[in-house]
Subunit: 286 residues, 2 copies
């Protein structure tokens, strides 16, 4: 059976690597904070204390880490993946990261005879746990097809979107739509509260029509019962929106709604609320 | 049978009054542009050339006109509805208009022994034609209950939201959510096009998850096939968003996303595109 290395065993990564272990793949894991990797041992993972140990002999190297700077470090940094990986392997970054960086990693990988896939996901911790993620993949199509059986252990909707970076571009478009829908949900509730309209009654009245969205149906109830715990962290949403702003900007495009929502979340981070869930945006108006 | 006066027989009003005629109500119609009212004669309406003729002896007076200034004029202006209406009648403004104006009209009506309901709708021209509108009503509850059987001829979802102005407030919350979702849909497509991602493939990949919305499902396909015809006019959306901004502002609240979207649509109006449908926002980025 193909040998897997998994770098990054946070909430998402641990569940995703767990599905591969359950499917019988031998998985070597590495995490910057070792205790999070250690927890994978009971599931049968080989826990490694360096990237190079994890990567040695691997057919597939998966990564899901925090920020683009971390992605860059684990792939291109000193003692990183591309220094130690074997020719013929496939690397798969599942972090939501920069499309431009995905292209750069693909180019560097190619020089080493390695194929690259960028494959960010949506569906959150619940989707990772249940193996029902949406996986948006870019890269060489034959490399994607090699990884697909492993993706099928982690996700339900697996789409190939084009060359290197196009998985990231699709996730970016997803985050733009999430930004608008989240702000829409938030400001509708803010307005209702300010004018003395019962917010739940308002949601019942508007959710079935042109105002309707996944955010209204799924996040608004959390907001109304005061549940601001992170399904998706504000700090990560800010990271995503900055990437999108920069990608748009490098194409002489300004996304005004996205910029307005980014600015709201940056204000929340300034007030020390970056570890709350994105639905906490309401607090900024209070 | 109760006698109905209907003021405003534009695209929405003509369909809505038509449902009352079909249900057997005697309906007197008035429209500022007489030829639009004239078209109602073939459906059995009594076409009137003044408001006072239409209103004489009416148990219910419905209005659906363009702007708050028009609402104010037809109700409170010289030779307007409240000058000629009979004690005991119910007035029902279905224009999307100002909550503050709805409160003022209710107060003036009360002085004449007249009950007032503010009942804006969502569902557009298609919903008006099919009799499937969502109707959000505010005002005295007993007046609402008197009008309800007539609302049931025009709409499918009929909700009572509270005292005078609360129908308008609910519609305002609806429009806030529509603004965010429309901008979300637009900027996701703009981004996809700029980076060379197939927009339809992108929509397929993201629509089922946290990015999903009625706008993505229903308006994005129109945008992609270049159909910018008004289901809902930009000029009317601007009117709605200005009302919302002012209502929020009078409560010391600023809705940043809403303001950003309003500003985008005002730029479209400045470029002479106010008679396009709201989905035409994409053109501003091209």
């Amino acid at each position: 059976m193909k040998k897997v290395a998994w770098i990054g065993t946070g909430v998402m990564g641990a569940s995703m690597a767990g599905h591969l272990l359950k499917a019988g793949y031998p998985v070597s894991v590495y995490n910057r904070s070792p205790q999070k990797a250690q927890a994978m041992a009971s599931l049968g993972a080989t826990v490694c204390s360096t990237i190079w140990e994890a990567v040695a002999g691997a057919d597939f190297v998966f990564t899901i880490v925090g920020y683009p700077a971390d992605v860059e470090q684990v792939y291109l940094g000193k003692d990183g993946i591309l220094e130690h990986i074997e020719t013929g392997a496939v690397i798969v970054d599942m972090t939501t990261s920069s499309p431009a960086l995905a292209v750069r990693i693909a180019e560097e990988a190619k020089k080493k005879g390695v194929s690259s896939v960028d494959a960010p996901v949506s569906g959150g911790d619940a989707g990772a746990k249940a193996g029902t993620l949406s996986i948006m993949a870019g890269g060489e199509e034959d490399a994607f097809l090699k990884v697909k059986p492993l993706f099928e252990r982690m996700g339900k909707t697996i789409v190939y979107m084009g060359g290197p970076g196009y998985g990231q571009h699709t996730k970016a478009a997803n985050q733009i739509a999430v930004a608008g829908a989240t702000a829409a949900m938030t400001e509708a509730i803010v307005y209702a509260k300010k004018v003395g309209l019962d917010p739940q009654q308002m949601l019942n009245a508007i959710s079935a029509g042109a105002a309707g969205s996944w955010q209204l149906n799924n996040m608004a109830p959390r907001v109304l019962r005061g549940d601001l715990a992170p399904g998706f962290y504000i700090k990560h949403f800010i990271k995503d929106m900055r990437i999108i702003r920069d990608e748009a900007s490098s194409r002489n495009t300004s996304l005004s709604m996205l910029n307005a929502v980014l600015s709201l979340y940056e204000q929340m981070a300034d007030k020390g609320m970056e570890d709350l869930g994105t639905q906490a945006l309401l607090k900024l108006y209070e």
